[in-house]
Amino acid sequence: MAGWIEACGADDVDEEDVIRFDHEGRTFAIYRSPDDEYFATDGLCTHEKIHLADGLVMDDIIECPKHNGRFNYKTGQAKGAPVCVNLKTYPVKVEGGQVFVQID
């Protein structure tokens, strides 16, 4: 099991928004939900490898900015065409005002 990686400050992500986090050649998306919880997924859409951090967060949905494919960012579930493959999610914790992601 890999360790926890410091991704960003908790305040770096607006409520109901997403930011990009790059680490060791990989890219991730860090989300802050409307009820102030944090989540992390792979950073690229499973359809056409577009950065989800440029997309729109609506409740528990992230919508890809290129083709409007939708995922539940809490579970990674693809919500229908044009995305068919689920998004990988990662455990997240917030400590001392920082967001940590457990990357495998």
Partner: protein, 369 residues
Amino acid sequence: MSAVSFSSDFVKRDYSLTGPSARSAVETGLASAEWYHTEIPRKAMKELMQRSDGPAIRDTVLWLSLLVVTAAAGIFFWGSWWAVPFFFAYGALYGSASDARWHECGHGTAFKTRWMNDAVYQIASFMVMRNPVTWRWSHARHHTDTIIVGRDAEIAVMRPPDLFRLAANFFGIFDVWYGMKALIANAFGVLSADEKDFIPEMERRKAINAARVHVAIYAAAVLAALGFGSWLPLVLIGGPRLYGCWHMVMVGLLQHGGLADNVNDHRLNSRTVYMNPVSRFLYMNMNYHVEHHMFPMVPFHALPRLHEMIKHDLPAPNTSILDGYREMLPAFLRQLRNEDYFLKRELPATAKPYREEFHREDSVPIAAE
């Protein structure tokens, strides 16, 4: 505006999605490439992307009400010349406005509520005679590879342009013929090689089932016409895709016609045109076409705001539909003699320049002759 021809040699393009141009686009990195977009602060972008049900509910209520009123008046006056203006309006609302509703709801940007997008998408897909599954995937490809030869399944004007076909399509003749053939083939469980290229295997059954529903409704309309001994059922269902699609074709050709292909900058291959309010209603603001391609997440009602925000970085819009045709039609005629000819739209001094390194002569994939 400057006119550009990359080469004096005649370059043959292959528009199939499985041919040499498709392979070349992948090999040269034109396919699935990173596209230019104007920088917009995240906060402003988030505001532009916000969804709302209100504008699309108002639009849909108006659209459906006008359809019902004009159809009712057309039926009432059926058999007299008084029916003509009502069916003229009904035809445009059915055969043209449905295209814009299909498009906006397909992106999921019309309404905030998902089921509303899906419901209007299904209705509009039927009206515009498009398989709702096939065309969802073809349109995703259109946004990935806009006007990339061999990749984009929705290139309306292939080079050299077939002007007879373009003119006939103002009455839907070729579109309906090929669209109906595809629907019937799909209904029998057959998908073309191109369709298989962009529809994932797990979605193909849905495409077949949707085609069966559409074909069944059309068959019912034909049977009703035969049963009643009247053209009226077909004037109301299916027919408007022929006699009412002129507005969709008129504004649709302007989207990319005469502009560059095989580039990764929507400012080079898409056209924004200022239009009158009626056309903008029928077209759901898709006249802001550069803006739409650059930022497909922005709903139709926010496109005018987006345009104001980024117009410093875009070519000047055409000032009217007529102005657009004055620019586009001569380009079509030039492309009859040299299909490499296109209009290169000039940028204002405030814009970031085109990335010429990506748009050189040798970056244009050439099909085998």
